[in-house]
């Protein structure tokens, strides 16, 4: 088990001939605490798998270094890093039984057979695999195989971290929930550092204590699910987390307060000083309500999702989404909306203003 630290990590894949390298990862500086459950969240191609492969040692970063508990491991091969990884497609050794699969990493390290047996039995118990220990691993269903991949990581007591690369992709939806809560439960039991890569916000938010949002090779925000929801540091986090995502509307700033077209908005996070760049105001659909004064809008569409409804509004040429409880009424004439000042924030060039801007 270990704390994982990245120092100025950048990585570019070899470019096609005659082209400049494009950085898949651009300047990662992070410290991930020992025993934490981290989720790397981001769209396809944002660099999250690259980052994972750098941790496991399958890739060496072009620049920067990575440390486990303060010791540099940047150039250590995978086998010496004591890392376990669960892949997108389950990897099991077909010819072996479930028991032999789980015992494989221990036997490879020359562990005493009695100890192997004890460890494997214990882990199989945790994963509910005890009944199928004698079966051939090839005969199991996808979720069973994925449990074996996970188990091969858990049996080793020397593991620094367990990495998951979108491990639920091939699992049936009704089993996803089960396996995900199993993961969470295991994390609490064994307390290993777990790093989970996904592009599914629900998976990330339910699994992790800390979610690391990655966008175009940059870590844009690290935080608890609540922090990500309440205070997105980057407009991408706003879009990507929440359903529907945050409204990001063009604005200007007067006396520290945002102005959206001709409507003055109010924020409890006013801006001081000069701002250069693209200015936007961000407000989550959950914090918009109908009011007697405010921004005049037209109602474009109402989607009823059961307990709440999603209403698509339009002001000038901008689309605004709002979420409203089922029992509230949509005004019949001249609808106007008001943004909650506590939840209204100003963004400059996609980054949140009023704090030190993050590099």
């Amino acid at each position: 088990m270990a704390q994982i630290r990245f120092r100025n990590v950048r990585h570019a894949y070899p470019p096609p001939k005659g082209k400049k390298p494009v950085y898949a990862l651009n300047q990662i500086n992070q410290v991930w605490e020992d025993g934490g459950a981290y989720a790397l969240l981001g769209p396809s191609g944002c660099g999250k798998t690259t980052l994972l492969n750098i941790i496991s040692g399958l890739l060496t970063p072009s620049e920067g270094e990575i440390l486990f508990d303060g010791a540099e491991v940047t150039h250590l091969p995978t086998s010496e890093r004591q890392i376990a990884q669960v892949f997108q497609f389950p990897v099991v050794y077909d010819t072996m039984t479930v028991f032999d699969n789980l015992a494989f990493p221990l036997r490879n390290r020359g562990m005493d057979e009695a100890l192997v047996k004890q460890r494997v039995t214990q882990i199989a118990e945790m994963l509910d695999l005890s009944a199928s220990l004698k079966k051939r691993a090839a005969g199991l269903t996808a979720d069973g195989k994925q449990k074996i991949s996970l188990g091969r990581g858990l049996v080793r007591s020397d593991v620094n971290a367990i990495l998951f690369d979108e491990p639920l992709t091939v699992i049936d939806p009704h089993l996803k929930w089960q396996l995900r809560s199993k993961l969470k439960e295991l994390h609490q039991q064994v307390g290993m550092t777990m790093i989970y890569v996904t592009h599914d916000q629900v998976e990330a938010l339910t699994f992790a204590d800390k979610v690391v949002v990655i966008y175009e090779g940059l870590v844009v925000q690290v935080g608890t699910p609540v922090e990500l929801f309440n205070k997105p540091r980057h407009t991408f986090v706003g879009y990507f987390i929440g359903s529907p995502g945050m409204n990001v509307l063009p604005c200007t700033v007067e006396n520290g307060q945002p102005v959206f077209y001709n409507s003055r908005l109010e924020t409890s996070h006013p801006v001081t000083g000069e701002l250069n760049g693209k200015l936007e105001v961000g407000i989550r659909p959950e914090f918009i309500e109908f009011a007697t004064d405010g921004i005049p809008v037209t109602i474009e569409k109402v989607e009823d999702l059961g307990r709440y409804q999603v209403i698509t509004l339009k002001h000038e040429s901008e689309i605004i989404k709002m979420v409203m409880k089922e029992d509230k009424v949509i005004p019949a004439e001249n609808p106007r909306v008001r943004f909650d000042p506590n939840r209204t924030r100003i963004y400059c060039d996609d980054w949140i203003v009023e704090e030190t801007v993050h590099e």
Partner: protein, 287 residues
């Protein structure tokens, strides 16, 4: 609901039935015909029952060629399979060399069998052949035309040269189908090179290897053209394998009855061994 009864579609099978009849069934039945009867020409036949079969099965000559055949097939499988796997493992997985290697590997397979025999015959001639001359000038007494040992070695090496590629290509296809994740997982689990081969590569190659061994068994068990051109079954009878012996009996001595009986025995042996091998391999698979 009334089902329309119309069996006219069966007529569509007629062409293939005719084809099978003419290329397999009728020739086979002719052989069966000769195997149970005696003829002196003029289409006059006398019933002989199982006489020819008993004669063949008791004949020391048949036993000798069968033993030679089994040793030959055993040897070439024992050499070609490990060698083929070894070569396939060392071939590059990506890059410009892949196609070069594949073409080089496929070349021997594209050469007609009698040409292979002729090539090796000339190559191995003791006075003028590159191989024969080199061996002799190195002080090794080598003459495949009159030394049984040399003749055997040449035949085996020729077959290995001709057919190892088939195993290489099949194994390479099997290896290429293994996703990278497996190798990464094995590294993470601390598997040795041998463990990776034993638990990842070999199991994934099992199906193609089954096919490869079956093909090599059948082909080598029925081998005729290459040794016929290379050694003609000699010196003496030392490289006379089953099919060469069969042709000698049928066309050399015109003993049609024993030759037909031997053909049937030969055919049943190939069929039986292939069936047994395949059944055993597939039963393992299911467990």
């Amino acid at each position: 609901m009334n089902k329309t009864q119309n069996n006219k579609a069966w007529w569509l099978v007629v062409p293939v039935l005719l084809l099978v009849a003419f290329n397999a069934f009728i020739p086979l039945m002719t052989v069966v015909n000769y195997a149970f009867q005696e003829t002196f020409g003029d289409n006059v036949f006398f019933w002989e029952g199982t006489t020819w079969f008993e004669q063949v099965l008791r004949s020391p000559r048949f036993h000798a060629s069968l033993v030679r055949q089994l040793i030959f097939t055993g040897m070439i499988i024992a050499i070609e399979v490990p060698l083929g796997i070894g070569v396939a493992l060392t071939m590059p997985r990506k890059g410009p060399w892949v196609s070069v290697c594949l073409v080089l590997m496929a070349l021997p397979l594209l050469i007609p069998w009698n040409v292979v025999g002729a090539m090796w015959n000339i190559f191995a001639l003791p006075e003028i052949g590159l191989l024969g001359y080199t061996l002799n000038s190195m002080g090794i007494d080598y003459n495949f035309t009159n030394q049984p040992m040399s003749a055997w070695m040449t035949t085996v090496v020729m077959d290995v040269w001709h057919w190892t590629s088939l195993i290489v290509l099949l194994c390479y296809a099997g290896l290429s189908s293994i996703p990278d994740d497996y190798y990464q997982a094995a590294h993470i689990d601390g598997a040795s090179r041998w463990a990776i081969f034993r638990y990842i590569q070999l199991p994934k190659m099992k199906r193609v290897l089954t096919i490869a061994i079956l093909l090599r068994f059948m082909d080598s068990f029925m081998i005729y053209t290459e040794p016929f051109v290379l050694t003609g079954g000699g010196p003496g009878n030392t490289t006379t394998f089953l099919s060469i012996d069969l042709v000698k009996i049928a066309l050399g001595q015109f003993d049609l009855g024993p030759a037909a009986a031997m053909s049937l025995i030969y055919f049943l042996m190939v069929l039986l061994i292939c069936w047994a091998f395949y059944t055993i391999m597939m039963r393992n698979e299911e467990q």
